[in-house]
């Protein structure tokens, strides 16, 4: 089945969220949230669809082929209920990528079988004492003289840890400090002695309230040698490689939250009359709506391009994935916040037509800190900046145009070729320069695009200069704020390249790309295009038309049910 066909199936199963008569619509989603429960009716539908199959590579019997298709399918879920997206779905996605990247064929088959039979596998990395610093994790796997390992320690604030059938645990397998001291341990909870594991009490939360955040304690729990994923000591490497997929895909899936937020806000603004006119006629409201729309397109472009890069440029994605996590999460959260201003008091109410908005806003917040904090992602990128400044940002080779043909067939995800460092290669930046050279002609749009592309090239030049001048002592976790600004600005350049190149292969009208690049340029203190504002009114009209046609606001422009 092609992606759009199976997407339509899922949309049909889930129905129109705004329809009060829909047993899996907003009203029911909100009621489950109020009870701090997972949305049971929604979980049944996802069982029926076997959502887990989206996470399982085809070679193991699942539907995972292109990462961009995976994102589109999950976005359908995140658009309705992010707690289902995480608590039914992506928690198992996060754990499984470790196994696809480094596990044995037997481990991969077990994970596939478990997921395809609608069971869950929790990803247990986090310990309250160590937060993002998972290389300090204390949960220990100790080798036994007679073979096998013994597990001792706690994992805390972990999605689904109690109800999951399987666990992927990050464990210390060597007492010494270093990057070869941890390993992932794959555990079938039904196969270990019940007395050796104990559930901790649930952690109630502000958002994602239905998601079961739990903890688990292991005491001298025996597991066999076959439980270790990859070689003992390979754990940090496995995480840094395989999480490139999840750190790219999950924030990009979450763009579905902004898509719904925009729809709700447009419903509100178009339907409400104040001072004898529609709220949507207020220029300030239009400005906020168009900004949110642009942010959605920016996030979609960068996220989908990097998701394709995982297939097409797998050695180069270590910085790109962190850039997605950093930039997309921020733009989505900021845009939702801005939309909440349009809704005013209506966003603060927990019931009624717009009651779902406050839940979407709360559920989105973990995008900023879950599965690595945004600023920690900058810290991950920073050590690569000097080498990029010497190599990748000086005349880099462009990526092929397939990188930007979203939804087009991709080679299988080459988990074995993902690398912890890009080694100074940067095809997406190469494509920025190449795209800029393709914009010839003298229309006002072409002139503005050339001007904007020039600003990003200038930014890149400045980044290369600043990056080359960095002292190595600047690259660690105590990096100064200005220094962390370098990978942040670089993420903006990547987003610009993604937007420009996606636009070039799509052949859309130029309004969105000029306005998006203008917005990105101004966000890094560049002047932007002169009179970039003139694109805003046509964009508002485009947005309103999509709203009226019940189409999604992302690049796919899908027709939605209802």
């Amino acid at each position: 089945m092609t992606a759009p066909a199976r997407l339509d199936d899922l949309e049909r199963l889930l129905g129109d969220p705004a329809d009060d008569g829909n047993p899996i619509g907003n009203t029911a989603v909100l009621a489950a949230d109020e009870r701090d429960e997972m949305f049971a009716a929604g979980e049944r539908v996802l069982d029926e669809y076997c959502l887990n199959a989206e996470f399982v590579p085809r070679r193991y019997g699942g539907r995972l082929a292109g990462a961009d298709d995976l994102i589109q399918v999950l976005r359908t879920v995140f658009r309705r209920d992010p707690a289902l997206g995480l608590g039914y779905g992506v928690s198992s996605f996060i754990s499984s990528v470790n196994v696809w990247a480094s596990g044995s064929p037997e481990q991969a088959r077990w994970v596939a079988g478990t997921l395809l039979s609608n069971q869950k596998i929790a990803s247990a990395y986090h310990e309250l004492a160590h937060g993002n610093d998972f290389s300090r994790a204390e949960f220990a796997a100790r080798p036994q003289a007679q073979g096998g390992w013994r597990l001792t320690g706690r994992k805390e604030v972990v999605t689904n840890v109690k109800r999951a059938r399987g666990l992927v645990l990050l464990a210390r397998t060597d007492e010494r400090a270093g990057s070869r001291s941890h390993s992932q341990i794959l555990v079938d909870k039904q196969a270990v002695p019940a007395r050796a594991i104990r559930d901790l009490t649930r952690y109630p939360s502000v958002g994602m309230r239905g998601v079961q955040l739990g903890g688990i304690e292991f005491t001298d729990c025996p597991v066999g040698d076959e439980a270790v994923v990859g070689r003992p000591g390979q754990g940090i490497e496995t995480a840094l490689r395989s999480f490139q997929l999840t750190r790219t895909a999950i924030p990009t899936m979450l763009a579905g939250v902004l898509d719904s937020g925009l729809r709700l806000t447009l419903d509100f603004a178009a339907g409400r009359r104040l001072y004898g006119r529609s709220v949507a006629d207020q220029p300030e409201v239009r400005r906020l709506l168009v900004d949110a729309y642009l942010d959605l397109l920016i996030c979609d472009s960068l996220g989908l391009v990097v998701s394709r890069a995982l297939h097409l440029l797998p050695g180069q994605t270590s910085m790109y994935a962190s850039a997605v996590k950093y930039l997309v999460a921020k733009r989505l959260m900021d845009a939702m916040h801005q939309l909440s201003l349009v809704l005013g008091a209506h966003f603060y109410l927990r019931e009624g037509r717009y009651g779902i908005f406050q839940k979407l806003l709360r559920d989105l917040a973990p995008a900023g800190f879950g599965h690595a904090a945004r600023v920690a992602c900058l810290g991950t990128m920073l050590p690569q900046v000097p080498l990029m400044a010497r190599r990748g940002w000086v005349n880099p080779d462009p990526a092929g145009p397939d990188l930007f043909r979203i939804g087009e067939e991709l080679p299988e995800l080459p988990f074995d070729r993902l690398r912890v460092s890009a080694g100074g290669l940067d095809g997406l930046v190469g494509s920025l320069t190449a795209a800029a050279d393709q914009i010839v002609g003298d229309s006002p749009e072409q002139r503005r695009l050339r001007l904007l592309a020039g600003q990003f090239r200038a930014e890149l030049g400045d980044l290369a200069e600043a990056g080359a001048a960095l002292h190595p002592g600047d690259l660690g976790v105590d990096a100064r704020v200005e220094v962390l600004g370098l990978p942040a600005r670089y993420a903006t350049v990547l987003a610009a390249s993604a937007c420009l190149n996606v636009w070039l292969v799509r052949g859309d009208g130029p309004a969105w790309v000029v306005a998006a690049l203008d917005r990105l340029a101004r966000s890094i203190g560049r002047p932007g295009a002169d009179r970039g504002d003139r694109y805003r009114e046509p964009l508002y009209q485009e947005l309103a038309a999509r709203h009226a046609d019940r189409r999604s606001f992302d690049l796919s422009r899908r027709v939605l049910p209802g």
């Binding site: 290389s135 010494r176 400090a177 270093g178 990057s179 070869r180 940090i236 490497e237 840094l240 810290g379 991950t380 050590p383 690569q384 000097p386 080498l387 010497r390 190599r391 690398r419 912890v420 460092s421 080694g423 100074g424 080359a468 001048a469 002292h471 190595p472 002592g473 690259l475 660690g476 976790v477």
Partner: protein, 109 residues
């Protein structure tokens, strides 16, 4: 060919800043020590070549930058996780020495 003035611990920054492949083991070890000292902003004399870099605070991703510097210094492509697998200055220097030796054409040594 230029060689890093290892005594002052100058850090190699430019692609052109390459050392001779014929550099001796002691030079390489001294260069590495200087390099690590720069990362940690500590005097070279405080760097014990038998202590794990992670114990000094050179964490996983941070250590990857060091690998880029070694590549530039030796003008060789290296495994990106080299610094994880040879976690002290001594181990790293010994391993690099072998790699450099293997690269020398026969009879050059």
């Amino acid at each position: 060919m230029t060689r890093e003035p290892t005594k002052t611990g100058n850090h190699p920054r430019k692609e052109t800043d390459m050392a001779s492949n014929a550099e001796g083991p002691a030079d390489l070890r001294a260069w590495l020590t200087g390099c690590v000292a720069q990362y940690l902003r500590r005097p070279e004399t405080e760097i014990d070549p038998t202590v794990r870099l992670a114990d000094y605070g050179l964490d996983s991703v941070y250590a990857l930058a060091l690998c880029g510097d070694i590549e530039t210094h030796l003008d060789m492509r290296l495994s990106e996780t080299l610094v994880w697998d040879y976690p002290t200055v001594d181990e790293l220097a010994a391993h690099l020495e072998e790699l450099v030796a293997a690269q020398q054409p026969a009879g050059a040594r």
